[in-house]
């Protein structure tokens, strides 16, 4: 293998427990988003658009859909002769094997993969977040600062800061303290779960961390605090754009609704920063004479006879005559009969909604319709 300047390791093994039945059969990074995408498309597209062509994707929980979706990476131009995308599941070796115990352990178990490219830097990202970011700019910053590690940070509202990993920095953006979900945060700079490491430093810290039986083998809890304690050069890299952890049904719903603004914070059709996805080969959408579609995103293969307001329709969705869809996310190939009302709901792929049904409510909760069941959660 020829040498690579930077190898990306994309953590995609998360279950996404708080997404309930949406993740019964698929991992969180494979959850559909934005009418056309899966969550992982954003990080894979960021890699491709940033010129990073070597990406190891670490899978664990319900990997099949994710594996088949990623394929050889051709949708993101990551089908490369040298590098490209590689799916890295847990494996057995001569001395046995084990599941990934934490984010750091997942990378530790795949150090052989990184070593073959002999990189200067390793970018560690997570397939759970929705954002557009040029990693090459962060890499330039990392080089300019002569850093051992750089962590992307985002200013979050103060009242939410205690939900995040919070960085305390000095005047030069050097991180002097890292607090995981502090009760009383000292700053509102939250970690976005995006790290760049000098490979030699990372290799050392990962190996040392494995020797500590009490370690949770996690970047936020173990690796970063150890580097700060050793007074390594750990810098914060500020990011100002749109970033969302869609880890709950509420945040997933909100992030989809954010796209429906006239000028959304996250632009999906920027020709200079395309978000790639696997194409389902569907004809254009048909909007019937009786239909009314406003403030919505609608994908190819949809056939709409009813009213759709402030909703996101994935490919192959049918909306029957006299039906109304409001404030909802309708995932691929959902068939909605006639005279149906759906409000404030997330409807899982492939659901069939019979004529005349009413789903969801306007009481301020979001309903998830998955596996033939309805679960309500507060908005």
């Amino acid at each position: 293998m020829s040498k690579k300047r930077c190898v990306a390791m994309l953590l995609a093994g998360g279950q996404g427990t708080r997404l309930g039945k949406l993740t019964t059969r698929l991992a969180k990074p494979a959850v559909p988003f934005g009418g056309k995408y899966r969550i992982i498309d954003f990080t894979l597209s960021n890699c491709s658009n940033s010129g990073i062509d070597t990406v190891g994707v670490l899978t664990q929980y319900q990997p099949y859909i994710l594996n088949s979706y990623i394929g050889i990476g051709s949708s993101w131009d990551l089908d490369r002769k040298n590098g490209g995308v590689s799916v890295l599941p847990p494996y057995m070796g001569q001395k046995g094997g084990e599941w990934y115990r934490g984010t750091a352990n997942a990378i530790y178990q795949n150090m052989y993969y990184i070593k073959q490219y002999d990189p200067e830097y390793v970018l560690v990202i997570s397939g759970d977040h929705i954002y557009k970011m040029d990693y090459s700019e962060m890499l330039d910053y990392h080089e300019q600062r002569d850093a051992d590690a750089t962590i992307a940070v985002l200013e979050v509202p103060w009242n939410e800061a205690s939900r995040f990993g919070i960085m305390n920095t000095d005047d030069e953006d050097r991180i002097v303290e890292f607090q995981e979900k502090p009760a009383e945060p000292k700053t509102n700079l939250a970690s976005m779960g995006i790290y760049i490491f000098n490979w030699k430093a990372l290799e050392k810290y990962l190996t040392e961390d494995e020797q500590k039986p009490e370690s949770s083998n996690d970047f936020g809890k173990d690796i970063i605090p150890a580097m700060i304690e050793d007074e390594k050069n750990v810098f914060a890299y500020s990011f100002n754009g749109y970033w969302k952890d869609v880890g709950t049904l509420q945040s997933l719903w909100e992030a989809n609704m954010d796209l429906l603004d006239d000028d959304p914070a996250l632009i999906l059709n920027d020709p200079a920063w395309k978000i790639y996805s696997v194409n389902p080969n569907q004809p254009p959408q048909y909007i019937a004479p009786q239909a009314k579609v406003t403030r919505s995103l609608v994908n190819e293969g949809c056939v709409v006879y009813g009213d759709v307001y402030r909703s996101v329709l994935f490919y192959g969705v049918h909306v029957g005559l006299g039906s109304t869809i409001r404030n909802s996310i309708i995932m691929p190939n959902v068939k909605i009969g006639a005279n149906v009302t759906i409000e404030n709901a997330i409807v899982e792929s492939g659901t069939v909604v019979e004529d005349g049904m009413t789903l969801g409510s306007s009481d301020g909760s979001i309903s998830l319709i998955a596996d033939g069941e309805i679960v309500s959660v507060p908005k």
Binding site: N269, P283, Y286, A288, V293, R295, L297, L313
Partner: protein, 368 residues
């Protein structure tokens, strides 16, 4: 399975779509919101397991070449077989009939080691099951199977159709080339199947004798010698031969029964992927009876129209009975009626671009 190679023969294309075929080949004319005409025949071939396809072209193939690329979208980026793009090899002879293209590519047929050759063209909008035609060819013990459709279009124009006549056994006993069909006439869809070895000998004979300029002439002249079976194609197919008919057939795509048959009942139709976002409808949008492709942002009114990928329709703009191709910009308050806008046309705010009867075509990249 018998090995089959496909040929999409564009050598005898007629540039009858005025502005739409001024700068591109007929086969690469955009259709149905996100396709090019060639996508239909090409997808039909690959859906039948044909993974070696040659495209014979004569001229204006730049946009076609760009569209087909490596053939990846049709699964034709193969080590074994794949897509072969064949422009004329002999400039001197580029104006002779298509027999010359077959002759220049004899080695393609010989090398492919295929049993059968399916030849079709790039202008039919259809979803045909070539597997079924091969089965019928074998069960009929035919030498050549030609595909036809009784003409159900009263508006076909121009004497560049080929009409065939059969006996009671669906065996072709006459093939009239270069005629204007009447409703009910069996129009030969310029699609046929024969053994590769037979095609090779027909082409070699034609060139040696100098008697036939086109492969159709060679078939028509040999109806006594070979068993030429006629396959009646029962599905939806277009006879696009003018801007009017292009417009009329495009508007048929607003009938969900037609799109169901074309896109879902047999195999999928593949095309070049553009990675556009889903279409976005703003608060002020009003869309009815229209086909909308991805990447569109609609703030105005769209009725009985087809919008290709990446079109922006400003607030207060009205589009009626029109076909708007890729990347057009329709300014606020503009009115578009009964027109075809080719790619990249930009209409300034409050402009009116209308036409009373015939669809008016606005050429590529025009700014109004």
């Amino acid at each position: 399975m018998k090995k089959v190679v496909g040929v999409i023969n564009l050598v005898d294309e007629k540039n009858t779509l005025s502005e739409l075929t001024n700068h591109r080949s007929f086969a690469s004319v955009p259709f149905a919101g996100r396709y090019r005409l060639i996508d239909f025949s090409l997808s039909n071939l690959t859906n039948a397991g044909v993974n070696t396809v040659a495209v014979f072209t004569r001229e204006k193939y730049r946009s076609l070449f760009d569209h087909l690329g490596s053939g990846r979208e049709w699964d034709l980026d193969r080590h074994q077989g794949g897509l072969f793009f064949q422009p004329p090899a002999d400039e001197e002879r580029r104006n002779s009939g298509d027999i010359q293209s077959f002759y220049e590519n004899l080695s393609f047929f010989k090398r492919s080691l295929s049993h059968y050759v399916v030849v079709t063209n790039g202008q039919l909008v259809w979803n045909v099951d070539f597997d079924q035609i091969i089965e019928e060819h074998e069960s009929e013990n035919a030498d050549i199977t030609v595909v036809y459709k009784p003409c159900d279009d009263p508006y076909t124009s121009g004497s560049h159709y080929n009409v065939l006549y059969t006996n009671d056994d669906e065996r072709v006993d006459r093939l009239n080339l270069g005629v204007e069909p009447l409703p009910g006439d069996n129009v030969f869809l310029n699609t046929f199947l024969m053994k590769s070895s037979l095609l090779i000998s027909l082409v070699e004979e034609s060139i040696e004798s100098g008697k036939y300029e086109s492969i159709n002439e060679a078939i028509a002249a040999n109806l006594d010698r070979y068993h030429v079976h006629a396959h009646h194609f029962g599905g939806y197919v277009t006879f696009i031969d003018s801007i009017e008919s292009y417009y009329r057939y495009s508007m048929e795509m607003l009938d969900p029964n037609v799109t169901q048959e074309l896109f879902y009942n047999t195999g999928p139709i593949y095309t070049k992927v553009k990675h556009e976002s889903p279409a976005k409808y703003l608060e002020s949008s009003s869309v009815s009876n229209s086909l909308i492709a991805n990447g569109c942002t609609i703030a105005g009114t769209v009725e009985n129209s087809i919008l290709f990928r990446g079109i922006r329709v400003g607030k207060g703009a009205v589009i009626k009975n029109s076909i708007i191709m890729q990347k057009c910009e329709i300014g606020e308050g503009a009115v578009i009626e009964n027109v075809i806008l080719d790619k990249d046309v930009s209409i300034s705010p409050n402009e009116r671009v209308t036409s009373d009867e015939l669809p008016r075509v606005i050429a590529k990249s025009t700014v109004i």
